[in-house]
């Protein structure tokens, strides 16, 4: 669907841009156009999930400290920075960890939109790993790269754990 929508020649996105007087870029055929397209589509896919998590986090914050701060004369910005955000931190860490790991293994969006192209402009490690294993049939190398990917993402997990502990303390 996104591939059709982003088609430079017949896609609805460029058609809409033209209607408001803008010249649509070559989304999937140019290096930066393809990168921006991947970011846009991935963001579109993940924003609802992230919003739900944050909403759940916000709903769990008690009203008491907020009201107390307002009684003491705190502005809305101060309430957000000093009261709301610190209490939301654990949720934000979880969201951050999930998104970082998701991004590391990003494959389907790129496979459908650009196949890693033009050239290798949008080739992620996961996409490269797929090529190694399923196109070039170098399964041993692909398995090794998969292990390396897991090792790369491990620090993210440990950082999150450490941060979570700090927040809890």
């Amino acid at each position: 669907m996104w591939r059709f929508m982003l088609d430079t020649d017949t896609g609805v996105i460029n058609w809409l841009l033209e209607r408001v007087g803008l010249f649509g870029p070559d989304w999937l055929g140019s290096r930066w156009g393809a990168r921006v397209a991947v970011v846009l589509v991935d963001s579109w896919q993940s924003i609802p999930f992230v919003m739900l998590l944050i909403l759940a986090g916000l709903a769990g914050i008690p009203d008491g400290p907020d009201e107390a701060a307002r009684v003491d004369g705190a502005s809305s910005l101060q309430v957000f920075r000093r009261i709301t955000l610190p209490q939301l931190k654990p949720v934000l860490y979880v969201v951050l960890m999930i998104r970082v790991i998701d991004t590391f293994k990003l494959f389907d969006t790129i496979f459908i939109l650009t196949r890693g192209g033009p050239g290798t402009a949008t080739q992620t490690l996961a996409m490269y790993n797929y090529s190694l294993g399923f196109v070039l049939l170098k399964t041993s190398q692909a398995a090794a790269l998969g292990t390396v990917l897991a090792i790369i993402t491990l620090p993210v997990y440990f950082l999150w754990q450490r941060a979570s502990r700090a927040v809890e303390a």
């Binding site: 088609d7 430079t8 050239g119 399923f134 190398q141």
Partner: protein, 588 residues
Amino acid sequence: MTRRRGTGLLSASLLAVLALFAGACGDSKDSEKSGSATPAASGTKQDADVTEINVFLIPSPSSTSIQSFIPEFTKKTGIKVNFTETPYAEAHNKQLLSYKQKAGAYDVAQFDNTYLASFGANKVMTPLDDYLKNSAEYDIADFSEGQQDYGKFDGTTFGLTLSTEPMIQWYRTDLLADAGLEPATTWDEYLSNAQALKAAGKAGNVLGFGPGVTWWWMTLVWSFGGQLYDKDLKPTVTSDAAVEATEYLKQLLEAGPDGASSLDGDTSVAKFFSTDVGEMLNYSGYYGSVKTPENPFAGKFATAAMPKGKADITHLAGWNIGIPSDSKKQDAAWQFLEFVLGKSNAKAYLESGAAAIGRKSITSDAELAKSDPYLPLLDIPASSRIERYPQLKVWPDFQKAADEAITPILTGDVEVKQGLEDLNTKLAGILAGENERRRGGDSRRAVEERTSSPVGRHRAHRAVLAPAPGPVRHPDRDRDLALVSKRGAELVRRAPVRGARQLSADGHRAHQWGADRRRSRHGDHHGTGSGHAAPDRRWSGRVAQPSAEVQPVVPICAAHPHAVDPGGGGTHVAVHAGHRHRRHQLAP
């Protein structure tokens, strides 16, 4: 066959793991379609003990046509035919898995011509030359010489032609007529037509400029008089012809639809069939889509021969079908192939919806040409050199490298000559692996060594630069020296490695004594383990004589031909790259 173009490389092994599991668990899975025809009450001439055969098919018009012949074949011979259809993405991996098990699961198998080299090199398909020699019904002489070669690998026929799909020129009659243009006969005309249409506000031409662009790029390279590699498997993509072809392709992209650099083979066809695009360069097998009445431009498409360049070439693609080596019913399998693809049923085969096979008797049939006007294009003239996808085992690596290099050149991200030089360097490493395979070496190890590591690529790059012949200095020597103990280093200095590494007269470096000893211990095909003893093809072509100043090294260890005697008795120090061994038993 048409479905795979452009997406071929990526889809070739899609879901391979699933296919492996599917293959391991049994023959019939959800993704497959299978069936059989009821056998007749009695057989005819077939061997009495063969009552059924299994046919492996890949969903396509050709497969559908084959299935339509099964009841008649069964009626005639009494042989029941079971068929299995497996999607293209899984099909070849499943076949290979079956052949490796030598279970004789299939007696006839359809496969893409791009797998012919792999199947032929691994000898998983039966040579058909003897059958062809004795079959008046199949009548191989009814095919032009070039098409007879279509199922051959290294001179042996491993597959019959199941479809003949040359790359041809497609055009929209209305758009060309409106612009006062004629179908092109040369590449100059093809480009000028495209540019004229673009100037008139239409898309001039389309092809798979994105993933899979290699198919079109190599067609142009051949047609412009170039080659992808020479007879020694050295890449030649920096030749004038290749540069000219690449620049031409870039101009075609500029005259194409907006955003065409993301189009693969299939999406480029969709673009041509559904929007205003004047010309297309693609395989003839897509002709079935032209006949679709729902197409908004039906009746406005026409085909012509591919424009001519400096070299008169025909880029040929299509399906093959053959008999797996592990089949226990090869005569019955041949009987089936002869029945479906023989001369008697050739017309019925085409009429049943299959992509045409380029038999002379078919391509010259005036009646058939009325409904399929492209048929005469399949009658490839003897003057035209037939080119098909390179018969290389390392082709997936080759195409991936070319795909990744060409598109950025076309979009202007990389300058043409620079991009081709980089590609040439990369291909040198890849083709070196093929060279090893052809000379009996371990290609996989060689390919991986040369293309997957920075060191391998660096060495490939050095090989391309081809330094002037002269005394050979072992590239790892300095590193070796740093690795060994002080005493080992001293010993190496006394007896330099180059003295032991003599180059044979044909330019292949080998440690004769080391190789001989390994052969005596482990046989000719023993792996080299640490990879230091096999003839090193990186140095092929560079001939140097052993230096008179150098003391020859006395071989002391069968396992480590680089080892030198430290004088300690009973042990040695091995000083080859990356290894430092001690206390190895000395060879007697």
